[in-house]
């Protein structure tokens, strides 16, 4: 029983991370129908920014998190402006290939500047974060509490932004029908930029949190979590925000349980098996439906 509860705690923590990353994939897909491969590298850079803030600027966790989010926001907007915006009317495959190019550029560009060496966070911060509450055999670390609370807070803010604000309504409108949105007077370019900004801020936060959680970062660290978060987004229904949240937690939970019950070797395989399964059984994802428009 203790182990079960422990796995749930671990699963929720990991799932939060996947959910944060998956939101960026899903929002960008929703608005420009692009699988933004560079998204996982924004996450990686978020981790590095957090690392440098803590190691060289000796900042605390929260200020580092905020700085990483802000810089990732700028980075996401910049990537969209430079790489994707000129291709607004290009074929989807051209944009997709560009996204892969941007991703490789960020990974190996980062490697050039910071070396491929694995880095760890300052020991005193790691130590204070891994302290926590012990209930019998169940361990709830301060880090896990932080991951979950930051994630929940960001998700609530995101939902409020998308549902209540003017720009959030514009986001939804553009993702439903670009032309009609333009006829409402919505500035489509601004709205797309804003979407990248939101997604990248979340990825930046996820990067710092993961870096601290596993205490290990490297320039290729985005690849696997990026893929899994993408699976999470597809699982929930790509383009659907609550879908990405549910998908993230589901994938995190499955992976943790598979690993926790001694099948560690299969943890990644299981995630991709889920992807294949969902594509066969319900390609639109858990919350997805094929909206038929009346003519």
């Amino acid at each position: 029983m203790d182990q079960f509860i422990q796995q749930i705690i671990n699963g929720i923590s990991l799932g939060s991370i996947y959910a944060l990353i998956a939101l960026g994939y899903t929002m960008v897909y929703g608005i420009i129908k692009l699988i933004n491969f560079a998204h996982c590298d924004v996450y990686m850079l978020g981790a590095y920014i957090g690392y440098y803030c803590m190691t060289f600027l000796h900042l605390g966790v929260v200020p580092s998190l905020l700085i990483a989010m802000i810089l990732c926001t700028l980075l996401g907007v910049l990537i969209e402006k430079i790489a994707y915006k000129p291709l607004r009317n290009a074929t989807r495959i051209a944009v997709l290939i560009t996204a892969i190019g941007v991703s490789l550029f960020l990974e190996y560009g980062t490697m050039y500047f910071v070396s491929p060496q694995v880095r760890t966070f300052p020991p005193h911060i790691v130590k204070s974060m891994s302290a926590g509450i012990k209930l019998g055999n169940i361990n709830l670390t301060f880090m896990q509490l932080m991951i979950v609370s930051v994630t929940v807070l960001l998700m609530v803010l995101l939902q409020l932004t998308v549902k209540r604000t003017r720009i959030g309504k514009a986001m939804r409108a553009v993702s439903l029908d670009v032309d009609a949105a333009e006829l409402m007077g919505i500035n489509v370019d601004t709205t797309i930029s804003f979407t990248f900004a939101l997604g990248s801020a979340l990825a930046g936060a996820a990067g710092v949190l993961v870096g601290l959680y596993y205490n290990s970062i490297n320039p290729l660290m985005g690849l696997l979590p990026g893929l899994k978060a993408f699976v999470a987004a597809v699982f929930g229904g790509i383009g659907i925000i609550p879908g990405a949240m549910i998908g993230g937690y589901f994938i995190g939970m499955v992976e943790t349980f598979v690993a926790g019950y001694g099948y560690s070797m299969y943890r990644d395989a299981v995630v991709f098996a889920i992807l294949i399964l969902i594509l066969i059984v319900k390609p639109a994802g858990l919350l997805g439906r094929n909206v038929r428009e009346k003519v």
Partner: protein
């Protein structure tokens, strides 16, 4: 109020509009009719700023707006009910209407216009919390028109508002168009239903494969033998 001069639009090698010129005066209902693929929708989309013309000018109240982004044209008073309604299906009726007022900041004015839309279309009030995708075709058309009215336009474009509607509803939509016009909004109406359109309009233009071939008052065109043969089924 609206003046289009010598508009040329290409889609790749397709020359979709071949020097289209037309004017719409303040307070008029002008209709643009023509067969499928004649270029009616393209004309409206170009005036709204969704398509960039290769050449030609569009001016509103004497000011050249050819280069303006769509958003600025909305600000200047152009509102467009697109072909096929194009309501935002996953958003509620109310959210759709609010998006129509996207560029406005006058909360009270918006609330007033929202009430006006609900007066015109009581069904939209009953359905305001429902997602627009669940509305019937006729209700979606009403929503599309209501949404366009929420920007408080000076000129309203309607692209085949009667498409796919039952005869009774077609009559109702045309009555609504007339009453919108009577309350001071100029109208440019694209229609397949030429007889209804000509009856309603002050003036009409006939578009044929990208060129205006005939123009005149609605009555004149409704009487013309050529028009009767080509568009009125006899």
């Amino acid at each position: 109020m609206l003046e289009i001069r010598d508009l040329n639009v290409y889609f790749g090698v397709i020359h979709a509009l071949k020097g289209v010129s037309l004017t719409v005066n303040d307070g008029e209902i002008v209709t643009l009719i023509g067969a499928n693929g004649a270029g009616k929708t393209t004309t409206l989309r170009t005036i709204s700023g969704l398509i960039k013309p290769k050449s030609g000018t569009i001016s509103l109240d004497g000011a050249d707006i050819t280069g303006l982004p769509a958003k600025e044209r909305v600000r200047l008073g152009i509102s467009h009910v697109p072909e096929g309604r194009r309501v935002f299906p996953a958003m509620t009726v109310l959210e759709n209407l609010e998006l129509g007022a996207y560029l406005r900041r006058d909360k009270q004015g918006i609330a007033k216009d929202l009430n006006k839309v609900y007066e015109h279309f009581p069904i939209l009030y009953d359905r305001r919390r429902q997602s627009a995708g669940t509305l019937s075709g006729g209700e979606q058309q009403m929503l599309a028109i209501g949404r366009a009215m929420m920007s408080r336009p000076r000129i309203l474009f309607l692209d085949e508002p009667s498409m796919g509607l039952a005869p009774l509803l077609v009559q109702e939509i045309f009555n609504i168009i007339k009453s919108i016009n009577e309350s001071g909004t100029t109208i440019l109406l694209v229609e397949q239903n030429a007889s209804m359109a000509l009856k309603t309009a002050d003036r009409a233009y006939v578009l044929e494969t990208g060129s205006i071939v005939i123009s005149g008052s609605g009555e004149e065109l409704a009487q013309s033998e050529d028009i009767k043969k080509a568009y009125l089924g006899g």
